[in-house]
């Protein structure tokens, strides 16, 4: 019982304090899970984070679910995910439904009009961050060509983004290249190092 209560409180705090969406709550999860409750070692947490990042979907709930599952099984998973997401969803529903009932007042319309450019800026910054990471990973040229092709597919041919992403995922998994070979030799070298030490 105590474990479930700890799980709930830990992830409740994470959910309520994690400003900036899921990624904003990663340091908070680290603080609760590694430092306060010691459910995982620092190293395990790093590995888990790397892995969670390569899978699709919201990051905060993947971490909460996995850690909850590790700490106390299926109900631990439900508990941690629930504690992470429930309070903020309730807040959001209450605020938005009460806002829309006063939607016709001119000053309320002025308020919502002023927020649109702010969200535009935040989206533009996110756009830049994604491009920046892509350029760091693949270089200017490949990112540029890929982006141009993707843009044409999405907005001139109107293909659903899911199909474009699906095709790219298949290419990423199927493609063979030097990188793969290098990687294998690196892995081998690492395991040999491990054996010798």
């Amino acid at each position: 019982m105590k474990t479930h209560w700890d799980l709930f409180i830990a992830f409740f705090r994470i959910g309520m304090l994690g400003y900036g969406g899921g990624p904003g709550s990663i340091p908070l999860i680290h603080k609760e899970v590694v430092e306060k409750y010691k459910w995982m070692s620092d190293e395990d947490f790093g590995d888990l984070l790397a892995l969670a990042n390569t899978l699709p979907g919201p990051i905060a709930t993947k971490l909460a679910g996995y850690i909850g599952h590790n700490v106390s099984g299926f109900f631990g998973m439900l508990n941690a995910v629930f504690a992470t997401i429930f309070p903020t969803i309730v807040l959001m529903i209450i605020l938005l439904t009460s806002l829309s009932s006063i939607d016709d007042l001119p000053w309320v319309q002025g308020m919502t009009a002023a927020v649109i450019p702010v969200v535009g800026v935040m989206l533009a910054v996110l756009t830049w961050q994604f491009f920046n990471k892509a350029i760091k990973g693949m270089g200017w040229l490949q990112t540029g060509i890929m982006s141009a092709v993707i843009f044409a597919l999405l907005y001139f041919l109107n293909i659903h983004p899911g199909i474009v992403i699906g095709i790219l995922l298949v290419i990423a998994l199927v493609r063979k290249d030097k990188g793969n070979k290098e990687d294998k030799t690196k892995q081998q070298a690492r395991s040999e190092e491990g054996q010798s030490s």
């Binding site: 959910g15 994690g18 400003y19 900036g20 969406g21 899921g22 990624p23 790397a50 892995l51 990042n53 390569t54 899978l55 979907g57 919201p58 905060a60 993947k62 679910g65 996995y66 599952h69 995910v81 992470t84 997401i85 903020t88 807040l91 959001m92 529903i93 605020l95 938005l96 000053w107 309320v108 002025g110 308020m111 009009a113 002023a114 927020v115 649109i116 450019p117 702010v118 969200v119 535009g120 800026v121 935040m122 989206l123 533009a124 996110l126 994604f130 491009f131 892509a134 990112t143 982006s147 993707i150 999405l154 907005y155 983004p161 474009v164 992403i165 995922l169 998994l173 793969n180 892995q187």
Partner: protein, 176 residues
């Protein structure tokens, strides 16, 4: 049928949103605004602004609210479940397997290849927001709010929740 649509609208972004919650924002917009037409761009942007200024994961806040708006409590539960469950199940089932291959270039390429798609989707959304705002409150007001919020959030590192709060006050006083 409605519940099935709610499920699909969040299942697809959940399973394709590489790069955490923010990566699924444009995918959710694609389903919610363009495919099912549950909201227009204006309503979506208002919801996104509020979602951004509240704490907690962004993808589940959107799923919960839109699900509730379209199908009540059950709709909210289905939306959140669709957003969260598939990737969580994959994670728990495949963890051992993935740990083994996490250094493989193929697995690393998964996130890598999806980034430009997400960047373009986000960029087009940002453009739509600016265009919509210019139509509504004019280009000068839009530019003023855009530049000052950029400076506040990115240069002066003011938390977005405060900037959104300030924009609300400004809009209520001068744009009503």
């Amino acid at each position: 049928m409605k519940y099935w649509h709610i499920f699909l609208a969040f299942f697809i972004p959940g399973i394709l949103g590489y790069g955490g919650g923010p990566a699924s924002i444009p995918l959710v917009e694609n389903e919610v605004v363009e495919r099912y037409e549950w909201m227009n761009v204006q309503e979506f942007s208002e919801m996104l602004a509020l979602a951004n200024s509240l704490p907690g994961p962004i993808a589940t806040k959107m799923a919960g609210y839109i699900g509730y708006d379209e199908g009540g409590i059950l709709g909210a539960i289905i939306g959140v479940f669709a957003a969260v469950a598939p990737s969580l199940i994959i994670m728990i089932l495949l963890l051992g397997f993935l740990f083994k291959y996490k250094d493989s270039s193929r697995v690393k390429r998964l996130t890598q290849y999806v980034r430009p798609v997400i960047a373009i989707l986000l960029g087009v959304m940002a453009w739509q927001f600016f265009a919509e705002s210019s139509e509504g409150i004019g280009i000068w007001q839009t530019a003023l709010i855009t530049i000052s919020s950029y400076l506040l959030i990115e240069r002066m590192k003011v938390h977005p929740a405060f900037v959104i709060g300030a924009a609300l006050v400004y809009g209520g006083l001068f744009l009503g």
